[in-house]
Structures are given as structure tokens and as C-alpha cells.
Symmetry: C2
Subunit: 550 residues, 2 copies
Amino acid sequence: MSADSSNVAADEIFKEFKEHSIAAFFKKNRQMLGYAGKVRSLTMLVHEYVTNSIDACEEAGILPEISAEIKQTGEDKYSIMVSDNGPGIPKTLAGKALGSVLSGTKFHRYVQQRGQQGIGASGCTLFANITTNKPIHVKSSTGRDAFECDVSIDIKSNKPLVSNVADVPRDFRGLIVEGEFGSVKYENSDHGVYEYLKRTALANPHASITLTDPTGKQYLFPRSDSSMPKKPKAVKPHPMGLESSDLIDFAHVSASRKVSSFLTESFSRVSHDKVDELKKIATGVDFEKDPKTLTWADAEELVKAFSKVKWMAPETDSISPIGKKQVEAAIKNILNPGFASVAERKPAVFRGGIPFVVEAGIAYGNALPQKQANASAQESTYAGDESFEERGSGKVLRFANKVPLLFDSTNCAITYAVRGIDWKRYGISDFDTEPINVMVNVSSVYIPYSGVGKQAISPEEEIINEIKFAVMEVARELQRYLHGVRNRNMQESKYKTIVRYISQLSGDLSELTGVKKELIEKTLRSLIDSKYKSVFEDGDNSEEGNDGHD
Amino acid sequence: MSADSSNVAADEIFKEFKEHSIAAFFKKNRQMLGYAGKVRSLTMLVHEYVTNSIDACEEAGILPEISAEIKQTGEDKYSIMVSDNGPGIPKTLAGKALGSVLSGTKFHRYVQQRGQQGIGASGCTLFANITTNKPIHVKSSTGRDAFECDVSIDIKSNKPLVSNVADVPRDFRGLIVEGEFGSVKYENSDHGVYEYLKRTALANPHASITLTDPTGKQYLFPRSDSSMPKKPKAVKPHPMGLESSDLIDFAHVSASRKVSSFLTESFSRVSHDKVDELKKIATGVDFEKDPKTLTWADAEELVKAFSKVKWMAPETDSISPIGKKQVEAAIKNILNPGFASVAERKPAVFRGGIPFVVEAGIAYGNALPQKQANASAQESTYAGDESFEERGSGKVLRFANKVPLLFDSTNCAITYAVRGIDWKRYGISDFDTEPINVMVNVSSVYIPYSGVGKQAISPEEEIINEIKFAVMEVARELQRYLHGVRNRNMQESKYKTIVRYISQLSGDLSELTGVKKELIEKTLRSLIDSKYKSVFEDGDNSEEGNDGHD
């Protein structure tokens, strides 16, 4: 064979061997961050900034006031400015927070937040750098000091480049970020910024959000609930959610003196009694030794023992759902439906020990105006996902930790669950055409997103099932409502038919019996009225009951 | 409000600010690498190793001989060994290649290869480390020296940990990697290793692949074509595929003395005449200056000018499709269908300048045995994508650069294209139940994957359209074949009906005319035979023509 003679030596092949930075990786594969398609890219940018702003406000205990302003600056070029009334950012960290991918405060925490990766804001900076070569302008006031600066990313090293740092008057509080981006487009579609912010308002009734679109038109999504949501609490991990490698990681940084105290101090629901139980099962583990000396074999034995002990369910203080009352208010404010119903499930767990909560709402009738389905399909240069979303995907409003998910609907646990329901059983003969909108919010300290762009929840069985239960709960209420409406319509039409015959019948009876027609007619009518009156009153009541008293 | 009093100072919030490594990121989000679900994870591991092996063999001009051996070592624990006859790996680089995420030879190249990110093999090491705490054992012989070592990843720093390095006898040539992995499961399903390797063989007829499954059973997918595929060539980028930031990157590392020569030397299809054209359009750019001084404004003007010049299409030497003859042979060998048809499209471009080639094949009748559809749904602990793939997804065999894509089918350009075809027009009344399999391979120097796990091609319009055209081409041939078969069946049944009456008719005619029954019967039969004979012969010929002559 000539194969050997044409061999290239390994050295030759490997002479180009290089390490590259995570920033360079995402520069080459920006679609993995969600930057695919011009409309989608613009929405992703606004999403990253708004998400960070709401997180920061909540962490500081401030009711969020967010404003987004979008201006066109050229062909497929727009400037985006997002400002908040949050805690601001320390001068020393502005560079890293916005100019280094995988830097942030949230990665190692066991606490529910919208952001969790430290990719969002630096991803925006990267996108500005590679599409317009412009830095991001940052203006921050922490209350104590106020400054501004420009931030870029050195892509090869994934290090921030900070310039033009200057102190500014302390006449504001919060953070203002502004950047100019290319390969983006503002559009009023299902995947556009307006829809994104509307849904953000829906899931965050404690936030006030303003949008100024490129024509200068202002939209305000007002605060519909001024109580601060329960602050998400950092909790200790539950033993059932741990793998051997996690246990080793925790043990080797533990300050506890013994394995036994390490277990009770580091994890949730591990009491001294439980440690005694564990000792009887994991007989190969020395519970008296320093946790820093815990071996892989120890960890494996402990994880196996964890699965044999009966635990209390994980604490759920870590979870901050939107709240049933708040969801209901928001649905009414924003979607203005004829009927609305909301359910909040009890906390459940997936992967053994990660707690999560599902909320679901249904809005029926007089719902969202039909979206400009064709608008988003007009992009011809690089359509990304936009033209290929499942038909009617706008009818399922998906949220993860109160953040709207607008893209990649086909591969999402919420889509699987909602589409998997037999809607006919609930009186909906065609989900895609009837005026029904379903909203689902999944809250957890760890949302298993399917991709770096965080637009879909990985379809894990436990999560899908919980969503199904929640949606079926509200669907049953919808069914009762529809049954009531349809029953009433039927009775009403029967009533009208009968009434139409009264006059004729009274005349005929009068001729036969000699009794006055007016008397017969009055008697008959009061008989019929008395039969149907209760039906209508019931109907009215039941509708009012569902509809609230506004 | 009490909001202010509960404010947390920015310093407090940011005290936990940390940078984390890409390895730590993927440890936390392993589902983004495709490690979701036990069966899928095992297949992903084999996929990463086999992909690297075939790439290495091809680059060295060696006909690949790959062997994969899988053994169960505990509950949900398996060892995987993949060996090849490739060029091996230099001792100095083994650590980085297998123990540092985002290190490799392929990232900056403009050449078609299966791998492109430097994540695959190190992702496997990471997965072994976090599920069994075991290193990967590597044994390599480059022909000159042979060694073995163990490789792990220091997750916090994303640096390789290499141990037990030793020289070994040079009695082999190639690379052997072996690891032990937890949270995995061997299963003979549509998403399992067997199916993956079968499809790999289908798209790589020049490779010989052996699988030893956990029961010790051996499967051989033999080489069906011993010619070496055209070696993918590194090509220069086409101007239409460039953005300003790419142009700056190239210019600032260019050795050319002038912008004009930089353009002709760095990019494909840029002749001196074209530079003259560009000069007339991009009047603000100084073509005589050092390319290292090219500004962003220059680059933007040049990119705009590129779009106004008429270019020759990109070179396509960079693309190495499977080949029409090879696909046909492989389909017959492996799927053994009643009918097969293959089409290879001419090269096309997406995003303006990235060339790609689509191949499509159809196998009809006597096709793949029905897959164990339920087997994969049995995983209850953490199902990942497995139970939720689109029904009948196994009927579309998706490939990117000859690598089978088994997961995330719903969000893939190939699925959109194949499912978007009106199959009834081609004589297929129900795509999901008829015995039809469609195979599509997309080849390019850059495949726009939708996720890091590289299991789906981002649904870009140009790619979807090319796939549709290719599949419609083979579908038309299928239609002709089915038409022939159905026509012949109809004629045959007519013939039989008529023949059944010959005897009766001959007797009756004989009685009426006095002519001998035998004579009438013989004449009638030869009359009928002569009419129908041509039909059957045509039918036979056409089938043979489609079926090959084996």
C-alpha cells in the first residue's frame, strides 16, 4: 500500500497544537451562546443585561426599575443601553465582570438566581467587539463611589481591557451599560425585544420595566406588585443530590475536624442521628478522621449509603417562585384574558436531591393578539432558529427562574410537557388555534439548561412530570369554566326557543280553554323564567368566581 | 420603603467574585457536552474517541482500523478502550490533548475534519475523573517512540495531570485510550454504541471498525472501499465569508507587505484584477500600507466592498464528501435494501462564503430491522434526551463530516429538511411507517453545530435548502422505482385474472366454433403472454438496474 509512504509523522500533525481561550471558542461558535440570527441576537443581548440587572436588584433588596433603550446606528447596527437602580458594581471588578468569560459571583453558589454561569455579560462584550469593534461603556454608582469606564475583551487571553476610567457625579444609584452591536435587527416579532420584556414583566410583577424602541416610542410595563419577592437563600446541598466527586470537593475544602461533623455541617438534613445510621451502613469509612483525607473509595461508599437512608425532603427556602397571587395579577394585567387560572406545585426534586418548584397558569379567551408570524421569517441572510420554531410556540410561555425562554422551544422540558397533554380531555379541541396561552415557570437553584445559551430546559423526566401535573391542575379549572360557559349557552338557546313559542301557544290555549291569553302567557313565562333563572345566576356566579372582581 | 435599609452593599455582593475554568464549567454543566442520560453518555464517549481516531488516520494517510471494546465493571460503570492504527501522539502533548479542555490542533484550521474544538477527548477525561476518579490510560506509538501514561485534569485550572509515564515496546503503531466511566449504561438501542458504530461504518466505507460488547460478542463492520478518501486540504477563506473582525485578525498576523498583496495572498479567489476592482469601491482604504496597520474602519469598508464584487465561488478542494459510489456500496452492505439511490450535490455556500456539500441516499424495502424503541425509554433515573426524541427519528440517518448524529434530532437542519418534504408526492404515503431510510451527510470546513455536544446542525436556510434538493433528487428515483413496481404488480394481477378465464373461454369457444379447445387455449395464451411479457421484462430490468448486480 502507498499508505505508509504518505504517512505524516505525528510531530508534523501536532506542530499546530494550540490552547485557545473560552473567548476565542465562543467567538468562533457564537451560535452556541444564542447569537444566531439578527433578531434573536438583539433579544439575547437585552436578555443578558436585563437578567443581570434584576438579579442584582433582588440581591440588594431593591424593587427593580429597569430601562432599555434601543437605537439604530447603521445597517444591522444598533446601540443598546440598559440601566437599573441596583447596587452597582465595584470599580475593581467591572473589567472582569464584563470582560472575561466565566467570571462572576454566581457560579459556585447554591442559590436560585437568573444568571449562573458568568457568561452572559462578557458574552455581550465579546459580541460587540467582534461585530463593531467597540467597547462596552459602563457607568456605575454603588452609593459610595461612582465611576465610568470602557470594557473590551482580549480574545486570545480572555482578559478584560479596561480604559477611560473616570469618576462621575454620584447623582444616581445603579448600573448603566451601553454598547453598539452589529449583525442585529430590531423587529416586533415573537422573538423580539418587546415580546421578551413583556414576558419578563409577566414573571416579575415586582419590577418596573421601560422600553424605548428605535422609533423613540416608549412602552412601560408597570409594577403590578410592590412586595419584594422572598429573597432566595443560599442553602446547603441535600445528600441525595451529591456524587462522589462533589463530596470529595466539599470535604477537601471543609473546615470541620471530623468526617461526621463535616457531614452535619456541610449538608442539609444530615442530623447526628442520620450520621449514626450512615455509620452502620458505610462501615468502611472512618468517621473520625479529617475530612481532608476523605478518599474516593470513602466518598463512593458514603454516596451509596446516602441512597439507603430515608431523608427529609430538601429545604425549599432556596426557591423563590413568582407566587400564585402575583402570577394571577400579572396574567390579568398583561394578557387580559376572559379566564385565568394559576397553580403552584409543592417543591419536588430531580436527580435525587435538587429541589425545584413549578408554577403554571392558563389564560383563555381575548388573549394575546395574533403575533406577526411572518415578520420573523423575513430574515434571509442568516435565519438562525427564527423561521424554524415550532408552529404556535408562542402559545406556551416558558420561564426558568422567572426569565422568559424565547428560543429553542422544541427541545425544552416545558414544551414536551405541555404538548404531551391531551387537551381534548379539557375541552380544547385544537390547542394551536383556540385562544389559549399556557405559562410555565420552573424555579431552582440549578436549572439544567440544554445549552450555553440557556433557552431550553433539558427534558428530565421528573421536571416534565411536575410541569404536566401543574398544567393539568389549571386545565381542569379551565375545563370547568368552559363546561359552565357551554352549558349556559345551551340553556340560553333552549330558553329562547321556548319563549318564541309562548305567544302562539298562549293564543291556542286561550281559544281551547277560554282563559285570557295574557294570563296564560304571563303564567307560562314565569314558569319558564323560574326554571332557567337559577341556571343563569349559577352561570354568572361561576364566571365571576373565576374572573376575579375587577 | 424598607428596601434601602436592607440594601446589601455592592462590595458584599461581589466579595464572592471568582474566575472559573472551562473544565469547572463543563463539570457543572455536563449535559451541554452531551453527557445527559446513561446510554447517551456511553455513546458520546465512544463517539469522541472514534472520531479522533478516524481524523488522525486520515491526516496521516492511513486506512483506519478502529477497535472499540466495552466492559462492565460495576453498577452503571464501564471501561471503554478504543484503539487505532493511526500516527499516535507525541509524548510531550499527550497530557494537553487529553487533559486540557480547548486544546488541540484543529481549532484554527480552515480544513474539514470531524473534530474542530479540542473539547472531545478532554471532555472524556473530565467525565472519567468526576464519575470514577480514574485517569485515562494512554498508549501510543508514533513509529519512532512508544510510551504509555495516565492523564487526568486538574479541574480548577484546566491543566493536565500526567503520571506513570513509561516507554513501551514499539510492537504496534497507533493510539490506544482506555478509561473507566460511571453513570453510563450499555444498551442496544437507537442511541447505543452499536447503532453509532454501524452508522459510522456507513459514512466511512474506507474504515474497518470492530466492536466488542460487554458480553464479549464481537461485531465487525468491514471496509467496503479500500481507496483512501481525498485528503481534506486546508484552503484560504473566501472573501464573502469574512467579517470585519476576521479581516483584522488575518491582517494583523500577515507577513505581506501591503494591504493589496495581503488580500491576494490570504484569501481565495482574490486576483490582482479583483483588487483593482476593490480599490475603486473602497476608496477610503490605503491599499499600499502595511496590513498590520489596517483599522476597523478599513476592514468595514473592505467587507462592504467584498459584497459588491462578483466573485468566483469558493474553492471546494477543502471538502471531502463520502462519495456517491462509496455511499451506494455502504448502503447496500449495511442496510441491504430492496432499492437504493444516492445523490451528491455540487458544492454550495452558506453565510456568503463557507462552502459545503450535501450527499443524500435513500434505502427502501427490507430495511433496517425495527429498533427496540422501548429499550431506551427504560432509563428512569435520568433520562436525558433519550425518551424524548421525535418518533421515527431513527429513519433519518444524519451525518456531519461523516460523523453520525444520534441526538438532538428535533433541532437539526437535516430533520427540518427531510420532514419538510411532501413525501406523498414521491409515492410514500406515511414516512414514519413505510420501510424507508434517508441518509444525509453534510461536509464543510465549518459545520455550524447548535451546541457544544455537536449533535445537531444549526438550521441555516441555505443548508436546509441544499439538503431538500438532494433528498428530492433521490426521492424522484424512488418514485420511479415504486411506480414501476406498483405498475408491474397491477399488470401481473390483470394477467393472472385473464389467464384464469382462458380454459373456460376456450371450452366455450370450442363448442361454438368446433375448433379444438387446445388450439384455442394455446393461441389465446400466447396472445396474452406476448402482451404482458414486455411489461415484466421491463420491470425486471428496471429493478435490476437500481439494485446493482450482486
